[in-house]
Symmetry: C2
Subunit: 118 residues, 2 copies
Protein backbone atom coordinates (compact mmCIF):
# COMPACT_ATOMS: atom_id res chain seq x y z
CA UNK A 1 0.00 0.00 0.00
CA UNK A 2 1.36 3.41 -0.92
CA UNK A 3 1.90 5.81 1.95
CA UNK A 4 -1.20 8.03 2.15
CA UNK A 5 -0.31 11.59 1.39
CA UNK A 6 -0.71 14.21 4.08
CA UNK A 7 -2.62 16.90 2.26
CA UNK A 8 -4.34 18.98 4.81
CA UNK A 9 -2.99 21.91 6.78
CA UNK A 10 -2.94 21.40 10.52
CA UNK A 11 -5.00 24.47 11.33
CA UNK A 12 -7.91 22.66 12.95
CA UNK A 13 -7.22 18.94 13.49
CA UNK A 14 -9.55 16.01 13.38
CA UNK A 15 -10.70 16.04 17.01
CA UNK A 16 -11.08 12.29 17.01
CA UNK A 17 -7.98 10.56 18.29
CA UNK A 18 -5.80 10.42 21.33
CA UNK A 19 -3.96 13.71 21.63
CA UNK A 20 -0.46 12.52 22.43
CA UNK A 21 1.97 14.10 24.82
CA UNK A 22 5.06 15.74 23.50
CA UNK A 23 6.86 12.39 23.23
CA UNK A 24 10.63 12.42 23.51
CA UNK A 25 12.13 15.88 23.62
CA UNK A 26 14.78 16.81 21.08
CA UNK A 27 17.75 16.06 23.33
CA UNK A 28 16.39 12.70 24.50
CA UNK A 29 15.56 11.74 20.93
CA UNK A 30 19.08 12.56 19.80
CA UNK A 31 20.61 10.45 22.58
CA UNK A 32 18.32 7.49 21.92
CA UNK A 33 18.75 7.76 18.14
CA UNK A 34 22.52 7.56 18.56
CA UNK A 35 22.15 4.33 20.55
CA UNK A 36 19.80 2.87 17.96
CA UNK A 37 22.18 3.88 15.19
CA UNK A 38 25.02 2.02 16.88
CA UNK A 39 22.78 -1.06 16.98
CA UNK A 40 21.47 -0.71 13.43
CA UNK A 41 24.12 -2.86 11.73
CA UNK A 42 23.56 -6.64 11.88
CA UNK A 43 27.22 -7.51 12.48
CA UNK A 44 27.59 -4.80 15.13
CA UNK A 45 24.41 -6.01 16.77
CA UNK A 46 25.68 -9.60 16.86
CA UNK A 47 28.92 -8.46 18.46
CA UNK A 48 27.00 -6.43 21.02
CA UNK A 49 24.62 -9.28 21.82
CA UNK A 50 27.55 -11.61 22.47
CA UNK A 51 29.15 -9.11 24.81
CA UNK A 52 25.84 -8.35 26.54
CA UNK A 53 25.18 -12.07 26.93
CA UNK A 54 28.00 -12.19 29.48
CA UNK A 55 27.42 -11.20 33.04
CA UNK A 56 30.96 -9.84 33.20
CA UNK A 57 33.50 -9.34 30.51
CA UNK A 58 34.38 -11.35 27.47
CA UNK A 59 37.59 -11.62 25.52
CA UNK A 60 37.59 -10.38 21.97
CA UNK A 61 38.92 -13.81 21.04
CA UNK A 62 35.52 -15.29 21.96
CA UNK A 63 33.31 -12.96 19.94
CA UNK A 64 35.08 -12.07 16.74
CA UNK A 65 33.99 -15.01 14.58
CA UNK A 66 31.09 -13.18 13.00
CA UNK A 67 32.16 -13.63 9.41
CA UNK A 68 34.02 -10.36 8.89
CA UNK A 69 37.69 -9.38 9.03
CA UNK A 70 39.45 -8.40 12.24
CA UNK A 71 39.73 -4.74 11.19
CA UNK A 72 35.97 -4.72 10.56
CA UNK A 73 35.34 -6.26 13.98
CA UNK A 74 37.59 -3.60 15.48
CA UNK A 75 35.69 -0.85 13.62
CA UNK A 76 32.34 -2.11 14.90
CA UNK A 77 33.59 -2.43 18.47
CA UNK A 78 34.86 1.13 18.30
CA UNK A 79 31.42 2.33 17.19
CA UNK A 80 29.78 0.47 20.05
CA UNK A 81 32.23 2.01 22.48
CA UNK A 82 31.73 5.51 21.10
CA UNK A 83 27.99 5.05 21.62
CA UNK A 84 28.63 4.15 25.26
CA UNK A 85 27.24 0.64 24.84
CA UNK A 86 30.42 -1.21 25.78
CA UNK A 87 33.70 -0.58 27.51
CA UNK A 88 36.97 -2.42 27.17
CA UNK A 89 40.27 -3.04 28.88
CA UNK A 90 43.49 -4.40 27.48
CA UNK A 91 45.30 -6.93 29.66
CA UNK A 92 48.35 -8.43 28.12
CA UNK A 93 47.70 -9.79 24.67
CA UNK A 94 43.94 -9.56 24.76
CA UNK A 95 41.24 -6.94 24.96
CA UNK A 96 38.28 -7.63 27.21
CA UNK A 97 34.84 -6.12 26.56
CA UNK A 98 31.83 -5.63 28.79
CA UNK A 99 28.39 -4.23 28.13
CA UNK A 100 27.24 -1.09 29.90
CA UNK A 101 23.59 -1.93 30.68
CA UNK A 102 22.60 1.65 31.51
CA UNK A 103 23.36 2.56 27.92
CA UNK A 104 20.04 1.01 26.96
CA UNK A 105 18.15 3.30 29.35
CA UNK A 106 17.18 5.79 26.63
CA UNK A 107 15.24 2.97 25.02
CA UNK A 108 13.04 2.57 28.09
CA UNK A 109 11.20 5.75 27.19
CA UNK A 110 9.71 4.01 24.16
CA UNK A 111 8.54 1.09 26.29
CA UNK A 112 6.99 3.46 28.80
CA UNK A 113 5.12 5.17 26.02
CA UNK A 114 3.74 1.91 24.77
CA UNK A 115 2.49 0.98 28.20
CA UNK A 116 0.80 4.25 29.02
CA UNK A 117 -2.97 4.23 29.06
CA UNK A 118 -5.06 7.33 28.56
CA UNK B 1 41.49 6.54 24.16
CA UNK B 2 42.25 4.99 20.79
CA UNK B 3 40.60 1.67 20.06
CA UNK B 4 43.07 -1.06 20.98
CA UNK B 5 44.09 -2.97 17.91
CA UNK B 6 43.25 -6.64 17.68
CA UNK B 7 46.53 -8.11 16.68
CA UNK B 8 46.48 -11.71 17.67
CA UNK B 9 45.16 -14.67 15.69
CA UNK B 10 42.28 -16.46 17.34
CA UNK B 11 43.92 -19.88 17.29
CA UNK B 12 44.06 -20.42 21.02
CA UNK B 13 42.17 -17.76 22.97
CA UNK B 14 42.84 -16.24 26.34
CA UNK B 15 40.99 -18.74 28.50
CA UNK B 16 40.12 -16.06 31.05
CA UNK B 17 36.73 -14.58 30.37
CA UNK B 18 33.10 -15.60 30.09
CA UNK B 19 32.69 -17.66 26.95
CA UNK B 20 29.55 -16.11 25.49
CA UNK B 21 26.78 -17.95 23.75
CA UNK B 22 26.22 -17.44 20.08
CA UNK B 23 24.28 -14.21 20.70
CA UNK B 24 21.70 -13.24 18.10
CA UNK B 25 21.78 -15.42 15.02
CA UNK B 26 22.21 -13.81 11.62
CA UNK B 27 18.52 -13.69 10.75
CA UNK B 28 17.48 -12.28 14.12
CA UNK B 29 20.26 -9.71 13.96
CA UNK B 30 19.13 -8.57 10.53
CA UNK B 31 15.54 -8.19 11.66
CA UNK B 32 16.51 -6.34 14.81
CA UNK B 33 19.00 -4.10 13.01
CA UNK B 34 16.27 -3.05 10.56
CA UNK B 35 14.03 -2.02 13.46
CA UNK B 36 16.86 -0.14 15.15
CA UNK B 37 17.77 1.56 11.89
CA UNK B 38 14.21 2.84 11.57
CA UNK B 39 14.58 4.36 15.05
CA UNK B 40 18.04 5.81 14.46
CA UNK B 41 16.88 9.21 13.24
CA UNK B 42 15.93 11.73 15.95
CA UNK B 43 12.94 13.14 14.10
CA UNK B 44 11.68 9.68 13.21
CA UNK B 45 12.12 8.64 16.81
CA UNK B 46 10.16 11.64 18.05
CA UNK B 47 7.33 10.83 15.66
CA UNK B 48 7.36 7.21 16.80
CA UNK B 49 7.41 8.14 20.49
CA UNK B 50 4.37 10.37 20.01
CA UNK B 51 2.47 7.59 18.31
CA UNK B 52 3.61 5.02 20.89
CA UNK B 53 2.58 7.38 23.69
CA UNK B 54 -1.06 6.76 22.74
CA UNK B 55 -2.86 3.72 23.95
CA UNK B 56 -4.78 3.63 20.69
CA UNK B 57 -4.37 5.62 17.54
CA UNK B 58 -3.41 9.19 16.92
CA UNK B 59 -4.16 11.51 14.05
CA UNK B 60 -1.28 12.71 11.97
CA UNK B 61 -2.53 16.21 12.70
CA UNK B 62 -1.48 15.75 16.34
CA UNK B 63 2.07 14.58 15.78
CA UNK B 64 3.50 16.36 12.78
CA UNK B 65 4.78 19.53 14.48
CA UNK B 66 8.32 18.23 14.88
CA UNK B 67 10.02 21.04 13.00
CA UNK B 68 10.23 19.48 9.56
CA UNK B 69 8.12 19.76 6.42
CA UNK B 70 5.03 17.64 5.80
CA UNK B 71 6.74 15.64 3.03
CA UNK B 72 9.58 14.87 5.44
CA UNK B 73 7.09 13.77 8.10
CA UNK B 74 5.42 11.58 5.50
CA UNK B 75 8.80 10.09 4.52
CA UNK B 76 9.65 9.25 8.12
CA UNK B 77 6.24 7.72 8.79
CA UNK B 78 6.64 5.54 5.71
CA UNK B 79 10.00 4.29 7.02
CA UNK B 80 8.45 3.48 10.39
CA UNK B 81 5.64 1.62 8.64
CA UNK B 82 8.02 -0.32 6.41
CA UNK B 83 9.92 -1.41 9.53
CA UNK B 84 6.68 -2.74 11.04
CA UNK B 85 6.78 -0.27 13.91
CA UNK B 86 3.49 1.48 13.11
CA UNK B 87 0.37 0.94 11.07
CA UNK B 88 -2.04 3.47 9.69
CA UNK B 89 -5.54 3.90 8.37
CA UNK B 90 -7.03 6.69 6.34
CA UNK B 91 -10.51 7.81 7.38
CA UNK B 92 -11.86 10.76 5.47
CA UNK B 93 -9.42 13.64 5.45
CA UNK B 94 -7.02 12.29 8.05
CA UNK B 95 -4.63 9.43 8.48
CA UNK B 96 -4.53 7.70 11.87
CA UNK B 97 -1.42 5.97 13.18
CA UNK B 98 -0.92 3.37 15.87
CA UNK B 99 2.20 1.73 17.25
CA UNK B 100 2.71 -2.02 16.92
CA UNK B 101 4.23 -2.85 20.33
CA UNK B 102 5.47 -6.31 19.31
CA UNK B 103 7.82 -4.59 16.87
CA UNK B 104 10.02 -3.68 19.83
CA UNK B 105 10.51 -7.35 20.77
CA UNK B 106 14.12 -7.30 19.46
CA UNK B 107 14.92 -4.91 22.28
CA UNK B 108 13.91 -7.60 24.75
CA UNK B 109 16.53 -9.95 23.36
CA UNK B 110 19.24 -7.43 24.22
CA UNK B 111 17.73 -6.84 27.65
CA UNK B 112 17.58 -10.56 28.29
CA UNK B 113 21.23 -10.86 27.38
CA UNK B 114 22.10 -8.13 29.81
CA UNK B 115 20.23 -9.85 32.60
CA UNK B 116 21.62 -13.33 32.09
CA UNK B 117 23.98 -14.57 34.76
CA UNK B 118 26.55 -17.29 34.17
Amino acid sequence: MAEPSIQTPISDGCGQSCAPGAGLDVAAAERAAAVFKALSDPVRLRLYSRIADCDGETCVCDIQDVGVSQPTVSHHLRKLREAGLIDCERRGTWVYYRAIPTALAPLDALRAGNQTTH
